[in-house]
Subunit: 233 residues, 2 copies
Amino acid sequence: MSGAAPLAEFKVGVDNVIFSVDPEQQRLFVLLIKRLHPPCQHQWSPPGTLVRHGESLEAAARRILQEKIKVHNLYLEQLYTFGAPGSDRASAPHRYLSVSYFALVRREAAELITREGGMTAWFSVPSLPTLAFDHHNILNYGLRRLRNKLEYSPIAFEVLPDVFTLNEVYQLYCTVLGENFADYSNFRARLLKLGILQDTGVKASRGAGRPASLYRFDAIAFEPLRHKPLVFV
Amino acid sequence: MSGAAPLAEFKVGVDNVIFSVDPEQQRLFVLLIKRLHPPCQHQWSPPGTLVRHGESLEAAARRILQEKIKVHNLYLEQLYTFGAPGSDRASAPHRYLSVSYFALVRREAAELITREGGMTAWFSVPSLPTLAFDHHNILNYGLRRLRNKLEYSPIAFEVLPDVFTLNEVYQLYCTVLGENFADYSNFRARLLKLGILQDTGVKASRGAGRPASLYRFDAIAFEPLRHKPLVFV
C-alpha cells in the first residue's frame, strides 16, 4: 500500500494529564514530575513513559502513574495523540508518538509518591513551570477537555465531597471555567432543574453566611439521563 | 525510565472514518475500500495507510483519502488511538498502532475514486460487510462521535444544503440518532430557540405537504455561541 516510500518507525509513549481542584482555595492543579534523566533532565512534565513489549497503552499509563500517585478507582480517558515528526523524544531512527490520557481526581484522596530523588508535585495551573518538550500542548488540550466535561457531564460530582452546598459546586465550576462563566443564581437554577441533586434536608453553616442546604448527587435520577445530551452550566 | 524492560516498536497507521448522510432516503453511509493486498485481502475497511518517514499523522490520513475520494475543505478530526498488543497489522517484531480520524461530508460533493482494480464505496451503516481487522471498533467509535457532534455542535448544517426546511434538519437527525430521539415539534422549538437559523422568507413545496419555510444557518448569530455549551436536540 505504501509503495517504495520508507515507513516511519515509532516508539510510543503515554503522558498523563491529571487534574485536581481545590474549590475552597479556588485553585486548579495538575500533576507534574521532575525528569530525572535526559533528555530535558530536571524539567517538569506530566508523568509519562514509553510503552513496553506486550503492554497496552492504558496499562503503560497506569504503570507510570502508580509510581507517582496512589489513587483509588482511577478512570483514565484517552485525550489525544500527538505524533508530528518534529517532536521526537526517541533516539533516531525512531520517531516518538505520544498518546495522552486524562483524569480528574479528588486531591485529598490522591497521595503523592516521591522516590529515588525524584519529585512529584501538584502545580497550580496558572503558575506552571516551563515544561519539557511540547508538553504545554498536551496540558492545554487536557484543560479544554476538563472544561468540556464540566459543561456536558457530571464529572464535578466525582470530586466533590459526598454532600455539598450548591455554592461549593459553583466554586468548583468557577475555578475551572473562570469567574464569569455564569452568575450564581442562573447556575443554581439550571443545575437544580436537571433533577440530579437530592436535598439531604440538612443545612450547613460555613463561614459567616446563612446556613446552606446540603445536597447529594442522585446517581439513580441521573441514570436515565446518562445518554441524553445535557448542559450543566 | 523504562529500566531493563524491552520497549515495543511500532508502525503507526491512520484510518479514516468518513460519514455521509442522505436525509431524503434516511440513510447514513460510511466510506469503505476493498483491500487489494494481504493481510485481509479482499475485505472491506475504512481507507487507511501506514505513516511514512517525515509525514505527520494527519498528512498520512489526507494522503490516503486523496487517493479514494475528491472532496473540498475536508475537516478531519482525530477520533481515537487503538494500540492494544493483539491487534497487529505490522509484521513482527513491530506492533501496530492505529490513529483514527473522523469526518462528515456532503455526499453529493464527494466524488469517489477507484483505480488499479480497487474499489471504493459508500456503505449504508446498518448493512455493513465484514470489516478487516478490528475495524468495526473504529467504526463504532466514529458513530458515537458523529451522534455526539450532532447533539452538541452545528455539524448538521455543514452537510445540509444552503437552504433547508426544518423537516430536512429533523430527517437528518433521525437518520443518525434514530427515529425516537425527539418528536418533531419539540425538536423544531428547541432548534429555533437557539437563534442560529435565519428564515429566508421563501416557502418550498416538497412532496404532498404544505409549503414549508426555508431556513439558512446563520453563521454570524452562531459566532458568539461558538464556545458556549449548547444542545441541539
